[in-house]
Each structure stands twice: as structure tokens, then as C-alpha cells.
Amino acid sequence: MAAKNIMIVGVGGQGTLLTSRILGGLATAGGYDVKLSEVHGMAQRGGSVVTFVRYGEKVAEPIVEEGQADVLIAFERLEALRYAHFLKEDGALIVNDWRIDPIPVVIGAAEYPEGIIETLKKDYKVYTVNATEESKKLGNPRVFNLIVLGIAAQHMDFTVEEWYDVIERTVPPKTIDINKKAFDVGYHLVSE
């Protein structure tokens, strides 16, 4: 098979590294060649961060380039808009419908774009969820990324059991149950 290209974008501190570990573990367990690329260091301090995950028979470069992503997972609306052009023609865009103001917006030097989801829907297949609110209902706002991953799972090649396995192996033992629950919420969510 041709390599499957996944991107995770968000704001530094939102847990993109955990998410990439889960996807990496998943693809490795599936017997694929896998490459991932992450952002560490300064950009993690509230900056725009992007993680690439590629898996297939043989993967060369560790990054996903413009126009090549099969699935783009965005943990924040503005970041979805920033990276949407990385998607393939028929790629799936999964957006956590949540807003975090970048500093130019905080200080009034720029406007946070209005109607991002509507704008994106004109050009892309968009699936949205307010995972941050949903995860608060589960009692831990930090597991929102598993809800988003749950939706992404609908567009990937792995079984629920495979996802559960990797969640169990990756997240801290005390949080396995709530992370699985969060994944379920996303996996069974019908959004368009």
C-alpha cells in the first residue's frame, strides 16, 4: 500500500506528543514501516505545533508535505485553518471546535478569524467535535485528544481492539479507563 499520511496539529502543551506516541505504537503493532516527526523545544511553549505520522510498506521521509495528508487532526480551530492545505483532495479534516487565542489576537494586533468551520467546509471534508467540552463531562479536560483520535479512527485502518491495546500501553496506568472512554465517545460520534 502507499504510505498513509496523518498530521496532528495544535497548540504547544495540548498533548500532541502523546497522540503521536499512540499513533506510532498503533502502526508498529500493525507491522507497518512507520515514521513520525515531532516538535520539541521552544515551539512547545504555546506555539503552533505539528506532528507527522506516516505508515505503509516502506516510508522514506518522516514528514507529510502540502497536498499529501489523508487525515488532518486539529486540536484547535485556527490551527486547522493554518494547515488545511496539507490535505489531499479527498482527505478527512477532524477539528476540535475549540478556540485558543494566539498572542497577536490576545494583544489586539490581529483578529481571530470568524466562521472557520464554515470556511473549511467549502473546500474539505470536515468532522467537528467540541472535544474539550465533551472531555470535561468525562471529568478530565486533558483527555480531549482521545475523543478527537476516536473520530480520526473512523478514517484509519485499525480495529477498536488495536486502539485499546495501544492506549493501554501508552497512557499512564491510572488514566487507561478514562482515556478509553474518551476514545469511545469519539469513535461512536456521528459528526459532519
Binding site: 508498529t28 520539541h40 515551539a43 506555539g47 497536498g67 493554518r82 490576545v106
Partner: protein
């Protein structure tokens, strides 16, 4: 028996694993993105080897040199600019050669994800006459580490192991092997090789020139330099991560992939060049391979069409070589999202006071460099580790002691111990009067919370004497040393006013742990819509957890607020309230 287990590993983790499998016994490093995780992964093998955080890269390199001299395999790890700090031992150990294999791992940062410049380690290594290996993925990172130690001992050369951010922070599949049992080499005193005074060094210089020629000759047949002959219309010489982009963009091209990028295998290159119609040299940053190849009279295309800045990509190579435009939708124009100080960061509070007092800041390397950007915008200069204190001193000597009352130096605890302490000694010695703020958050913050000489814990997790920074400043002769809580705005303001006015060197230590270190339940603040007068006072420090509602009142994002309380202290109308109890 080999384990042959396949796992997915970060480039840096694979380097650590390679070192372990190669039988490394001593490793020293100072944290620096993108090299930091090597040591953090290496520590899992502490039953088999020793590893440490040293206060700076020069010390780390010298620790490794010592270990090599007495006959064990040793390494040190650093980012590219750290190699400058370690340049002094590196240039001379190059003359000495090795006893136990010696590898200097240096991580470059094309694209400046987390650095102050974009220098190319291959240039530095060439100047120091050090051989360089460069892997192209995690699997090679592990294997090449083992190669580096073998070659180091075989040719009696310390080796530089060059990586880049993309390699260091990419994961790939790696096959695990067992650790090699390497016997310690006997130490036999031979000062002609280990005491680099002129008479000895002169002879060593001749010797290493010879060794490098032998190595260059051997490079023609080393399996880490490999030729992949395909269509001969296009031939590419490349190495490291750009090799992967070449494979994506030009799958049918013939490729000479160099695993050793210094010295170059001249015969191999000449032969490859003669077999292809059009030769491209594709290397990120400087034209290191290209200039040498062209100097041999070989026709090739390189920096005429490829940039010396930033990272490459397959799309970029398709564009430059094939004239193909990749197909994708126009990117949206959106506000930038630069990195910022975290919600609850103690630096924000200190900088708020510094800004209020209208002071200039000679800055340094760490999270607090971010005080340079709006809305704080207080940092005037950032050069390199430790430079805040020494450049403040230079400003005073240039413009006088009254001028410097409008300035402070700002440096973190780890950076202070790295090289800042030397600069402070210089201030005391040369009768300076400036004021130094040590923003002590009890960790090496930007690189992800590493211990240092003042945290009381080693890399291996053992308890250690925690250097008392206050006592250290006093010991070098600073008479006025004050410690203040970073969130105590009143005391902080008073102290900075008093100390900058003083005609003697003074140090203010703002001691509050990094907000990311504090675990457990945190207090939380909310902004009452009805009491908010929209004055914007609370917004001045630029906390990312605070936004305005459509009606102009303030809203605090409860998923981001860490409960530092800075905004509440700034609100004059009682609109911000603590909702959950907890320690400040």
C-alpha cells in the same frame, strides 16, 4: 544471541541505544534542543554505563576526553551552538586522538526551531579536522553510533556524529541488538599523545593529517557510503535527512548516499559523477560537500538552485530539479502563533515589573528569551549562553554607571551555572555596578526540565549537593544578593528599584519553580463579567489564558489557568476571584 526485537524509536533514543549497544561507559552532556533526549534515554541503561548532566558543553566534552584517555568508550552530546562552547577541547582532542573510542554527538537545527543561529556543524568539524558521520533515520542513527566507535578506535580519531532536528525528533523502526562487551583498553602513559604542548602537538598535527588521509581513502569502500544506481539521467549526492526527501522526490534517480560526510570519498564521488548525466548535490545548510566536489573539477548543481537556509522537502526538490509544482489548495492567511511564556510562568511576573519600571534587559538563552516579544517586549538583547551578564558589563564600560541604572541582565538558573557565573566574576573583578536578575525556576526549563548543579539531583536520579546560587554569588564577591518570590510584585518592584540605583554589583534571585513542575490540584481564577471595567490591566503581562469576551470584559480559560494569581493582583476592581483553594 541477538534479541532482534523491532521497536519504534525517536532519533535521539536510537542514538542512546546505539551508544549502549556499542558498549559506551561514560557519557556527559548539557541539555540543548534538539539533542537533549539522548541523555534522557541513555539513563535507562545506567546499570551498564555512567551518564551525567554537566554544567556546560566544554565540561561535558572534557569529561568524555578523560574517559577515553583511560581506555573506555565515551561520548558527549550537545546542540550545534554547544559545540562552540566545547570547541576548545574538541580542536585539541582532534590532535590527541583516542584510547577508548570517542564520539561527540552534535545536533544541528536547520530551520531554527529552537536556536539562535543556523550554523553547520560539518563546517566546524572540518575546521577541527574531525571526521563526521551523519545518519538518515533512527535505524541508521543506532547503527552509525556503533560504526562511529569502531572507526574512532580503528583510525585513532575522535568522531563527530551529526544529526539535525528532523532526525533527532523523528521516530522510525529500529532493530534492537545486545550490548557489546568491550574490554577497557589499558592506559599506558604516553605524553607525546596526551600532553598537547607545542613540541608534542606539532608532531600530532602531522600524525592526524596522515590519519585523515587514510580515513579518506578508506571512505571509498566503507559500506556506510553507498551507491544506489538507477536511471543515470539524474545523479544525486546527498546525506542525512535530505536523502529521504530525494527518495520521495526522485525515486528513479541514482543516488550516492554519504554516511561519512567528512572526509569525503573522492574516488567514489568521481566514479559516481562520471556515470550520471546531470549531478546534483543536495545538502541542507552550507555547501560543504558541494564546494569540495566542485574543487575537484566535477560539474555539479547545488546551491545555485537550493537554499542555504532552513529545512528541505520533497516538494522543494521536485520544484528545483523537475520544475514540478505540487498540487494543493492555497494556504489560508491566518494570524501567527509564536511560542509564548506558559500561563502561570514566574518569568511573566518578573518581566511585568521590569516593564513597569521602564528598564532595558540584556537577555539570555532560555524560556525567558520569550520576554522579547509583545506584549512584554522587555528583552533588548539575546546572543548566547551567559552573555546577558557580560554584555551588561560591556554596556556599563561603554556608557558609564548612571546609564546602566536603566538596564538589568536577566538569566536563568541553569544558564547562570553554564557560563553566567564567569561573567559575574568579571563584573565583580572589574568594579561593575550593574544589576543581575537570576530567574531561578529550579530547572532547565526550555529543554524540558533537566536537573542541574543547583537542583540537588543528578541525571541518574541520585541525590547530590545542590549548589546554593545565593551563596555562590556572595562567594565570588557580590555583596548585595537578594532573594524574592517572583509573584511578590511589591517586594520585587522595591528590590529592583533599590538595587539598580546602587553603585555596586547586585544580584536579585527571583526564586519560584517552573509552573510545569508543580503537580496536583491547582487553584483557579475566574473573571466576573459584572465587575470587570474592561481596563485591560490584567491583560498587560500577556497571559494566554486570558481573552476578551465580545463585550470587552475578560474571560479566563479554565483549561489553561494554572492559578498563579498575577491577574488578580493587577485587577483594581475585584473582578478576578479565586474559586478553588490551593497553595499559591
Amino acid at each position: 544471541m541477538s534479541e532482534m526485537k523491532k521497536v519504534i524509536m525517536l532519533g535521539n533514543e536510537a542514538i542512546a541505544r546505539g551508544a549502549y549497544e556499542a558498549g559506551v561507559k561514560v557519557s556527559a552532556a548539557y541539555p540543548g534542543t534538539p539533542s537533549t533526549e539522548i541523555s534522557e534515554y541513555l539513563v535507562q541503561y545506567k546499570d551498564n554505563l555512567y551518564c551525567e548532566w554537566s554544567p556546560n558543553e566544554k565540561v561535558a566534552a572534557e569529561v568524555a576526553v578523560g574517559a577515553s584517555v583511560v581506555g573506555v568508550r565515551a561520548m558527549c552530546c550537545m546542540k550545534h551552538v554547544g559545540f562552540n562552547v566545547a570547541a576548545d577541547p574538541a580542536y585539541t582532542v582532534s590532535y590527541m586522538g583516542v584510547n577508548g573510542g570517542l564520539v561527540i554527538v552534535v545536533a544541528d537545527d536547520p530551520g531554527l526551531y529552537s536556536s539562535q543561529n543556523e550554523q553547520d556543524t560539518r563546517m566546524v568539524a572540518r575546521a577541527a579536522q574531525l571526521p563526521v558521520l551523519e545518519p538518515a533515520d533512527s535505524s541508521e542513527a543506532k547503527e552509525f553510533m556503533k560504526q562511529a566507535f569502531e572507526l574512532s578506535e580503528q583510525f585513532d580519531r575522535p568522531f563527530v556524529f551529526r544529526t539535525t532536528t528532523r532526525l533527532a525528533h523523528s521516530q522510525g523502526v529500529v532493530e534492537l541488538r545486545e550490548r557489546k562487551q568491550i574490554e577497557d583498553k589499558p592506559y599506558e602513559k604516553d605524553i607525546r599523545k596526551t600532553v598537547m604542548m607545542p613540541g608534542n602537538a606539532k608532531l600530532r598535527h602531522i600524525e592526524i593529517e596522515k590519519r585523515n588521509l587514510e580515513l579518506a581513502e578508506a571512505a571509498n569502500t566503507l559500506p556506510i557510503n553507498k551507491v544506489e544506481m538507477k536511471d543515470t539521467k539524474i545523479g544525486v549526492i546527498t546525506s542525512g535527512i535530505p536523502y529521504q526527501y530525494v527518495k520521495e522526490a526522485l525515486p528513479d534517480a541514482s543516488v550516492l548516499k554519504l554516511g561519512m560526510v567528512n572526509p569525503l570519498p573522492r574516488k567514489l564521488i568521481e566514479d559516481f559523477a562520471s556515470r550520471v548525466e546531470e549531478l546534483y548535490i543536495i545538502e541542507e545548510l552550507d555547501p560543504v560537500i558541494e564546494e569540495q566536489v566542485k574543487s575537484w573539477g566535477i560539474r555539479a548543481v547545488g546551491k545555485e538552485i537550493f537554499t542555504v537556509q532552513g529545512e528541505y522537502s520533497a516538494n522543494m526538490i521536485r520544484r528545483a530539479v523537475l520544475g514540478e509544482e505540487p498540487n494543493f489548495k492555497t494556504p489560508a492567511q491566518v494570524p501567527v502563533r509564536p511560542p509564548i511564556l506558559c500561563p502561570g510562568c514566574p518569568h511573566r511576573s518578573v518581566y511585568y515589573v521590569v516593564k513597569k519600571l521602564g528598564l532595558h534587559v540584556a537577555g539570555d538563552i532560555g524560556c525567558y528569551t520569550l520576554g522579547a516579544v509583545a506584549p512584554l517586549g522587555v528583552v533588548d538583547t539575546t546572543v548566547c549562553m551567559g552573555s546577558s551578564i557580560s554584555s551588561l558589563h560591556g554596556m556599563e564600560k561603554a556608557k558609564g554607571k548612571d546609564y546602566i541604572k536603566n538596564w538589568v541582565a536577566a538569566i536563568g538558573d541553569s544558564t547562570f551555572l553554564h557560563t553566567g557565573i564567569n561573567s559575574l566574576m568579571n563584573m565583580v573583578y572589574n568594579n561593575a555596578t550593574g544589576t543581575v536578575l537570576i530567574l531561578d525556576n529550579s530547572t532547565t526549563g526550555m529543554t524540558g526540565h533537566q536537573d542541574h548543579a543547583a537542583t540537588g539531583r543528578t541525571l541518574q536520579g541520585d541525590p547530590a549537593y545542590a549548589i546554593d546560587i545565593q551563596g555562590l554569588c556572595r562567594a565570588v564577591g557580590v555583596k548585595h544578593v537578594t532573594e524574592v518570590n517572583a509573584f511578590d510584585l511589591e517586594t520585587l518592584e522595591k528590590t529592583i528599584k533599590e538595587e539598580t540605583a546602587r553603585d555596586e554589583v547586585s544580584v536579585i534571585i527571583t526564586k519560584t519553580p517552573c509552573v510545569l513542575l508543580s503537580k496536583g490540584k491547582k487553584p483557579l481564577y475566574i473573571a466576573h463579567e459584572d465587575k470587570c471595567r474592561k481596563c485591560g490591566m490584567c491583560m498587560k503581562p500577556g497571559c494566554p489564558a486570558m481573552t476578551r469576551r465580545e463585550n470587552g470584559t475578560i474571560r479566563i480559560d479554565d483549561t489553561m489557568c494554572t492559578g498563579c494569581g498575577l491577574c488578580m493582583d493587577l485587577c483594581r476592581f475585584g473582578a478576578i476571584e479565586l474559586v478553588k483553594a490551593g497553595d499559591r
